[in-house]
């Protein structure tokens, strides 16, 4: 059943993701989301505290829903009724965290190679070089994360997630910790990633301009619920609404 999912080549970078989850996250806050994503780049858009990060943590397996079901390319990752809960390490979902979370004790090269190492694949220098070139991080390979700038760190984090050959790439506000100039520097890399890397992505952001550049589909979250979903043109209306 997971045959197509396991050889790492879902149809031309499009993942069929079905999420239907419920989770209490505090006395006054609960997340109840139902969405299907079938596009190359889906954005989860919403104000901070809307539940965006909690939602992708559930997709990655870092947070366990109270109820519901998560399915990727036909493989059930979570289903409380059938007692399915695939561990994070076996989901093969890449995750780029807001703060990068590079391993400080490894060089950039070892960081990039970590996913391949853990999954036991043979080294693939073509894939490695391709990602290094795509993100323009060749000159950083022998450095430690502590010596990288914020923008460099995020590019390495994207590379590290890509090189584990994910079925789906989650990006949690990868630009939020960067200043405006750095953001402009990195956005083109993310666009290249969307167009070249053949990995479908879910892009979390509260920045409408970023989302419009990256995403082909937008899901707006508000207070733990999907408010509206559709094409990027939604954002103009949603923004106007939020301002009103």
């Amino acid at each position: 059943m997971a045959g197509t999912a396991c050889n790492g080549t879902p149809a031309r970078g499009i993942a069929m993701l079905v999420v239907q989850v419920e989770k209490r996250l505090g006395e006054f806050f609960s997340l109840k989301v139902s969405l299907t994503s079938e596009s190359r780049a889906t954005a989860l858009f919403g104000a901070s505290g809307a539940g965006k990060t909690s939602l992708i943590n559930m997709i990655a397996g870092l947070l366990k829903p109270d109820h519901g079901r998560i399915e990727l390319d036909g493989e059930v990752l979570f289903d409380d009724l059938r007692y399915v809960d695939v561990p994070t390490s076996q989901r093969r979902i890449g995750y780029v965290f807001q703060e990068g979370r590079l391993f400080p004790h490894f060089s950039v090269r070892r960081n990039l190679d970590y996913g391949r190492w853990m999954s036991g694949h043979a080294p693939d220098s073509a894939a490695f070089n391709h990602v290094v070139e795509l993100l323009d991080i060749g000159h950083l390979l022998d450095r430690r994360p502590g010596k990288l700038s914020g923008g460099e760190r995020q590019r390495v984090a994207v590379g590290r997630a890509l090189l584990m050959r994910p079925r789906l790439l989650l990006l949690d506000e990868p630009l939020a910790s960067l200043d405006a100039g750095r953001k402009r520097d990195i956005l083109p890399y993310l666009e290249r990633l969307r167009d070249n890397a053949q990995v479908p992505m879910i892009y979390v952001s509260h920045n409408a301009a970023e989302v419009k550049r990256i995403a082909s589909r937008v899901v707006c979250l508000e207070a733990g619920r999907v408010r509206i979903a559709g094409g990027p043109e939604l954002l103009d209306a949603a923004q106007a609404d939020m301002l009103a």
């Binding site: 390490s89 400080p104 853990m118 999954s119 010596k147 590290r160 997630a161």
Partner: protein, 231 residues
């Protein structure tokens, strides 16, 4: 001026051996228990914590006595180990190492536990998303990042083992060449007339050893920290 009797040298060598062996043998258990206390959540965790800390608060003589009545030749467990495994603790240097290891254990666990607790758990989450199961995450992320704490814990345990007196002398007595460590030798020397100067020499040697161990661990921990952060 600084001449020691062969017996005193034997005590010094024995102390170093006992301290080193007890530290090395305690290390895997120390790391396992520290990881369990730092990261685990299970029923009886505070009980385990209390048991691990017992040797720190219990009079050392009491710990030694407990060892004696449980692992002595005539005690069931001690007899079993001697008859079926060929392991004898009572009145042997191995018993001294066991007593020292137990006395030093809480200090070791505490240092390692604190350093594991200080590690950003989000790095462990990141390792999981990259396909590392919990065992590999521990080996490739948690353990290397806890290294400065592990070194500190080993150093504390080593120093504590060098200074151990009460539990050792109660459990394995004070046999020159077999169980007489520096502390026991000093104690013996100050009991006899004219032993003061030799006792003082042993005291100076202990100071030198402990000082060297402290400096070495400080240096190692600093190097490990620098390596971790790529300086």
């Amino acid at each position: 001026m600084f001449e020691l009797s062969p017996q005193d040298w034997t005590a010094v060598a024995l102390s170093l051996r006992v301290a080193a062996v007890s530290t090395l043998f305690a290390l895997p258990f120390g790391i396992a228990i520290a990881a369990l206390l730092a990261r685990g959540s299970f029923w009886g965790k505070s009980l385990l914590d209390a048991v691990v800390h017992m040797p720190l608060v219990l009079p050392p003589v009491a710990t030694g006595y407990l060892l004696l009545i449980s692992l002595g030749r005539k005690a069931p467990l001690g007899a079993f180990l001697a008859d079926y495994c060929g392991i004898v603790f009572s009145f042997r240097w191995t018993g001294a190492a066991l007593a020292c290891g137990i006395m030093a254990f809480p200090l070791m666990v505490r240092a390692i536990r604190l350093s594991i607790e200080a590690i950003d758990r989000r790095l462990e989450d990141a390792a999981a998303t990259l396909g590392a199961n919990s065992g590999w995450t521990f080996v490739t992320v948690t353990l290397p990042l806890a290294l400065p704490g592990i070194i500190a814990g080993m150093m504390l345990a080593f120093a504590r083992a060098l200074g151990e007196f009460g539990a050792t002398i109660t459990f394995v007595s004070n046999i020159p060449g077999e169980t007489q460590t520096i502390s026991a030798a000093i104690y013996t020397l100050i009991q006899v007339p004219g032993g003061d100067s030799d006792a003082l020499k042993l005291v100076i040697i202990s100071i030198v050893i402990c000082f060297a161990a402290l400096l070495a661990s400080e240096w190692l921990a600093r190097r490990a920290t620098a390596r971790l952060h790529g300086v």
